[in-house]
């Protein structure tokens, strides 16, 4: 699971765009031999800023492969925020991003 972020501050708002490499397997797809591929999808993406959660997304299998999110929150240039993502299999990833 790889998180890529583009974050820019403008007029006190941080515009954060996230792209997370993830297969988002629905659990309904079959492989070449006809066996079901088990579900593996993100469940939560959370943005924490200065120790507080400012945004929290919950999702199921209806989000596209390599999920993309664009959100804005109040923030200041030079500070950083943290993105956490977790999937239904217990895998997770974190990334700290400086606001530019």
């Amino acid at each position: 699971m790889k998180i890529r972020v583009k974050a820019k501050e403008k007029n006190g708002l941080v515009d954060a765009k996230l792209l997370i490499k993830h297969p988002m397997e629905t659990g309904r797809r079959k492989d070449k031999d006809g066996n079901l591929i088990p579900a593996k999808h993100l469940t939560t993406i959370t943005i924490d800023y200065k120790g507080e959660t400012v945004f929290d997304a919950h999702m199921g299998t209806g989000v596209s492969k390599d999920p993309y999110l664009s959100v804005s929150f109040k923030g200041v240039k030079g500070e950083s925020f943290e993105i956490s993502a977790a999937d239904n299999t217990g895998e997770s990833a974190k990334k700290t991003v400086e606001i530019k």
Partner: protein
């Protein structure tokens, strides 16, 4: 007390956690991921698990942008925005997907109630956004046609 908070409580395991979270509740209670909501097989059930019996009203304050004809049902770009004060969450539903609830976005007073994302649509369907604010669900919908392709590009 709103339904989502009731769900939130019921989804917590032990009373110890319950109390610990209660004490830090003044601003927002961040709910846990709700498997029942995301596996509910139809729209009504998905809404009910998420929000209980909150009244639903159509609202022009909910702006939903989606293509009329999706280039590819696997990647349908969606922008959803709530102009309503005190927006707690926005949920996206595709009623004709096997599990209609696509995502639920929860906001704090420090985030803007606007999200862009990309969703999957198995077939032509309406996309529905429900904004949870002031004890009601504010609804906007948009029909999106999904065609089966294969050649193009």
């Amino acid at each position: 007390m709103t339904i989502s908070r009731r769900n939130f409580f019921s989804s917590l395991g032990t009373s110890a956690v319950y109390l610990a979270v209660l004490s830090s509740l003044p601003s927002i209670a961040w709910a846990k991921w709700n498997i029942k909501a995301f596996t509910a097989p139809n729209l009504d059930a998905a809404i009910k698990v998420n929000y209980g019996d909150l009244p639903i009203v159509d609202s022009l304050m909910v702006k939903l942008k989606a293509p009329s004809i999706a280039e590819n049902g696997a990647v349908v770009p969606i922008t959803v925005e709530s102009k309503l004060a005190n927006t707690k969450s926005i949920s996206l539903f595709v009623p004709d997907n096997p599990t209609p609830l696509v995502a639920k976005f929860n906001f704090s007073e420090n985030s803007v109630a606007k999200v862009k994302t990309r969703i999957r649509m198995g077939k032509t369907s309406e996309v529905i956004a429900l904004v949870e604010a002031n004890g009601k669900l504010h609804r906007a919908g948009k029909a999106v046609k999904v065609t089966i392709g294969g050649c193009g590009g």
